[in-house]
Symmetry: C2
Subunit: 513 residues, 2 copies
């Protein structure tokens, strides 16, 4: 591949690309490493991607039709086998499932004789869903018009993560079909338990064969298609950690209240595990529900640096606050903060969130029972230098110190926060790829979401880990999750441009210094 | 009918009955009004009841197979029509449905040319159920062996109220089949919305034709088959009132937090309606969840009188505390109270109970959402002289004063507490009937459960209202609800003795002074 200046032909390509992706966004073409691929190669690859478009869309749709849900032990073996087939079809060799104490990982390599190796992280599982909440059936993956965005595949996993992952595979197909030799070697590692907190992913990543392959990687990324309405993307220099758990109050463990449900009239003489859960919950957070008040919770929190705050300020300037609020269905951020301060909070603050409450009768109308058991499903997000183990221990200690020794805290999964150096090859390649494509990239100090990146950034793997991609989708974990295939917004990539984004990243990964 | 002393033949009948129902319980035979029916009549009626036994059991089973659930608008018209057919078949005339703003009532009369008229209250609806929680299918009404009790019909509505109600109808069938003229006239009024708090029953009871009939009644009772393991029953001199409602916190009403569910990572910048609900809930009760701390909640509570406390003490002495605790699945009463004090609390204290909690994701495992809406289903039990209207107003005022003006309190139903005079004809007849049968009857100052009795005791109806019956069942509102048909406990009535209990009550109602 070449790092020379672009020909006038490629310049036209870039202009076309800029027109597609971000009219008004300054081009950075001609800036040394920003141009990595030979023009003719890129043109051939784009032509292949355009030819493959229908098949690339169908690959996403077909994958959505097979939901693997670890929490429900649904289609897990089938999902792993399907993942392995997808990898083989895209050109990975030695594709195997990697056993764990839970559901298996899927591992494959693509040795292109290149100097550098890039890791790619996939998940083959998706979140649970309730079809009744969807306007288009979540497993049918229909193409629906999304006003303001274009034509999108609607289905569970569309954006998280089947759409972006299949689009990364589309990039490999396009390069293969164009007869192009890949500029980097690739190591692919997929798991099937991301949505339950990756309880066994460390075991999979440290399987000797997998570990050896990962340690050869300059970095690893998870495909992401998260362009905003202005076409902007975030390059995350890390992510929050998480613990996910159930707090359970029960007559069984408490030794008070009923073991099962009894008629509610007996509340006058029988204690209520549900009230006990409410009382325990309200000790965890401030009165507004916005700050964790568990003893010592934040003592290891590293405050944001000046550089990190400056990055957030810059990112805020590139965002469309009204569109963000509309997409979330909110009218105010916490404490009526302006967007920049809300984003500081998003990066900086540990959180306690109630994902779900379940006690007694949950159907329509009422039912006069005194329930024997009440459950709150919680997630706590963690920031550097909190750890998952620390959070679990402090939560337990807090409950005990408040007298709630009987309340169970059943942690189902979680991971530590991650951090990635701004000057790592991975981040430099991402920034170069976005620059080459004329996509505004905001360096974001920390993703507020969580992913098992700590498995990669921490010993023994110890490689940079992040997210990369253009394109758009939304609704992760929510109804009507979607992934745009035909973009009606000139600043946002459709499936072919998103495919080419991954191609660009491979070339930049090979080229940056 | 006769009030003369029993012949030796009837004495034998009584002894047999006493042996069935309460060996060791002192007989009160020969005590004036305690003997109301002619011996030959009673013998003929018992013979008819014994002949009808299979049909009487089938009547309960068939009724259970048609569940009418107002909360789900399930089989309501069908249930009313079925109720009307049951009434007609038992000898009621002019049976009609009584329209209301909700589901209709069913009304019928049986004019036997008697001096006194007795009212009977039925409900044709049942509580919701989840078949997965039942060991025997809730609509199959199978006969199952209940160790310690005997053979029982298991099904939704078995004890609440289809079993007892159908057994009352069995008494009418037996008397008709025995060619016996009933000693009282009967007015039957049924509703289909008891399980949602009887929101329209006052309208039904004050329908001009219904009201005129009710005002002719000396009293009204709801059939009850609630004998304990020692054969004892309670005669309730009133019952608690109730309001049943949903407290709802939502981003929509709050103007903070999301309208729908969003990804939980945004908790750092978006408020949580679920935390808001938790905070609001915990202001309603004391830290142990056992006392309502809403401002002014108890200011109109009439403390129990010395007579009422004495009655409770007497009742406590007749109860099997270990069996009670086992049946509830509890090891301690509130505050580790001894039984008598727990029963005082049961009669005396207003309660706040959480029937159910519903927010966000309620399925297996977790799901990282920040829910846009959270619901607590509550019931508040009320004691004299609290009123439903007062409770609703004070709850709203409390929420507002605590700043929770956005939290909706949607009251679905409820009724005022009731009181019945110990010296009313209804209570005197009940006590006489139990005495005649050798059944230990504890005068109970107040049922902790609630029923729409206030519709009868308050103007314009203004008649005594209570519960009556022998026999046994349990599990109202819970899985595996049952009604005993063949009793293996000599102190507890099976279906034929329970049928004869209602017959006895009709005679005593005609005879007492």
């Amino acid at each position: 591949m070449s790092t020379s200046s672009p020909s006038s032909a490629s310049r036209r390509d870039m202009l076309r690309s800029a027109a597609l992706l971000g009219s008004g966004v300054a081009l950075t073409a001609g800036g040394g490493a920003a141009i990595a691929a030979a023009d003719s190669e890129m043109a051939r690859i784009r032509k292949a991607a355009e030819s493959n478009r229908d098949a690339d869309i169908r690959r996403i749709q077909d994958w959505i039709k097979l939901p693997s849900i670890a929490a429900e032990n649904l289609n897990m073996a089938e999902g792993a086998a399907y993942m392995a087939d997808l990898a083989r079809s895209a050109g990975f060799t030695g594709v195997t499932t990697v056993p764990s104490d839970g559901h298996p990982g899927v591992f494959g390599v693509m040795d292109n004789g290149a100097k550098r190796t890039l890791g790619i992280y996939f998940m083959y599982d998706v979140k649970q869903f309730d079809p009744a909440e969807w306007s288009s059936p979540p497993l049918e993956a229909r193409i629906v018009d999304k006003p303001g965005w274009g034509k999108a595949i609607v289905g569970r996993g569309a954006i998280n993560q089947k759409g972006p992952q299949a689009t990364f595979l589309a990039a490999l197909h396009a390069m293969k079909d164009a007869g192009v030799k890949l500029p980097v070697n690739i190591v692919l590692l997929a798991e099937g338990e991301e949505e339950i907190g990756s309880p066994n992913f460390r075991q999979i990543a440290t399987n000797p064969g997998v570990l050896a392959a990962l340690k050869r990687c300059e970095g690893i990324f998870i495909p992401a298609c998260w362009q905003g309405a202005n076409g902007e993307v975030q390059v995350n220099l890390g992510s929050k950690g998480i613990i996910e758990l159930e707090l359970i109050a029960s007559g069984e463990k408490w030794g008070r209240g009923p073991k099962g449900d009894v008629h509610s009239s007996y509340k006058a003489m029988i204690d209520s595990p549900t009230w006990r859960l409410v009382q325990a919950l309200q000790t965890l957070v401030s009165a507004d529900g916005n700050n964790v008040v568990i003893g010592g919770w934040s003592e290891n929190v590293r405050p944001l640096t000046a550089r990190e705050k400056a990055l957030i300020a810059e990112a805020a300037r590139g965002m469309d606050e009204a569109q963000m609020k509309a997409s979330f269905g909110v009218t105010h951020w916490i404490d009526n903060l302006p967007l920049e301060q809300a984003l500081v909070r998003l990066a900086q603050e540990p959180t306690a969130n109630i994902e779900g409450l379940v006690a007694g009768y949950t159907g329509p109308g009422g039912k006069t029972v005194l329930p024997g058991r009440a459950v709150a499903k919680l997630d706590f997000r963690l920031v550097p230098n909190q750890t998952r183990a620390e959070a679990e221990a402090k939560l337990r200690a807090h409950l005990d110190s408040q007298g709630f020794t009987d309340i169970e805290a059943n942690v189902s999964g979680g991971y530590d926060p991650t951090e990635v150096a701004e000057d790592s090859l991975l981040i430099k390649a991402e920034m170069a790829a976005y620059a080459k494509m004329g996509v505004k990239a905001n360096l974001n100090p920390r993703l507020a979401g969580s992913w098992p990146g700590a498995v990669f950034t921490a010993p023994p793997v110890s490689i940079p880990a992040g997210h990369f991609g253009i394109g758009h989708g939304s609704g992760a974990h929510a109804p009507d999750e979607y992934f745009v295939v035909d973009s009606s917004n000139p600043k946002v990539a459709g499936i072919t441009d998103a495919t080419m984004g991954f191609v660009e990243m491979l070339y930049q990964m090979a080229a940056v210094r």
